[in-house]
């Protein structure tokens, strides 16, 4: 594939913007979590694009993939904890709306 790395980055930016959009406008916390996953994927794509850019024909740059692996790991943890929290929230409020979480009010 001879696509320039910028185009990978364009895609990443687009995905990230969509993730932000969803994060901000959706009320359902589960969807909000999904949007976070989307943003993390955008980040992964950026890492990989950078790694690809810095690889030469002789030596591959492996920092990108390794970071991506860690990101996937963190994403898994985040999803697990996030979903557990959602369950707890649902028990508490009978709702999964983000607006019902306003205990942090100053």
């Amino acid at each position: 594939m001879n696509v320039p790395s910028e185009h990978l980055l364009y895609l990443a930016a687009g995905l990230f913007a969509i993730g932000v959009l969803g994060f901000l406008i959706r009320r359902n916390v589960i969807v909000v979590l999904m949007c976070i996953e989307l943003m993390l994927n955008a980040a992964n794509l950026t890492f990989l694009a950078a790694s690809r850019q810095h690889s030469t024909a002789q030596a591959a740059n492996l920092d990108g993939p390794v970071f991506a692996i860690f990101v996937i790991l963190v994403a898994a943890c985040e999803a697990a904890v996030g979903l557990a929290l959602i369950i707890a929230l649902f028990r508490l409020k009978q709702s999964v709306e983000a607006d019902s979480l306003s205990e942090m009010k100053g």
């Binding site: 594939m1 001879n2 696509v3 320039p4 910028e6 185009h7 990978l8 364009y10 895609l11 990443a12 930016a13 687009g14 995905l15 990230f16 913007a17 993730g19 932000v20 959009l21 901000l24 406008i25 009320r27 359902n28 589960i30 969807v31 999904m34 996953e37 989307l38 994927n41 794509l45 990989l48 690809r52 850019q53 030469t56 024909a57 591959a60 492996l62 993939p65 390794v66 991506a68 692996i69 996937i72 790991l73 994403a75 898994a76 943890c77 999803a79 697990a80 904890v81 979903l83 557990a84 959602i86 369950i87 707890a88 929230l89 028990r91 508490l92 709702s95 999964v96 983000a98 607006d99």
Partner: protein
Amino acid sequence: MAEILFYVLSALALLTGFGVVLAKSPMMSILSLLGSFFCLAVIYLLAGFQFLAAAQILVYAGAILVLFLFVIMLLNLGDMGVVAERSNSFLDSTAARLGAALAVGLGVIGLVAASKAAFQPAQAEPGKALDGLEAIALQLFGRYSLAFEAASILLLATMVAVIALAKRQRKSGQNPTQNGGRA
């Protein structure tokens, strides 16, 4: 050939991404997300990251999204049940405009930043795997061994946390509100 496939998949990934945000039912969101992840996996593959592509499918599509699915079914949210009754819209109207503006802003910044980067053409040989399994393994257990171990601790902590959070307190079962609060 591969280039065309990339652009098609990119467009698909973005479209399904929008689907995640705009779908009314969480179930549809999940499915859109799944689509988006598949597209990305193929893009990884095209870009030369075979292991990552596999991981994307296995971990994201196979594990994480299934988890989401379970929760949705567990809480019986498939058709927005409870939520739909409470609000007129699945979108938060007050934040929607600002959020949209912000997302557009971020997107523009990302695009501009990427275009300003002025990369050299990629040096890597197209089609050759960049993340050979052995090379990745050497990195993970060599240079990144400490991070790797830390990650295992993180996983353990997550496990404990999730159990603690999701466990139903047996003692005061009569009041679910309190229960949830303590759990």
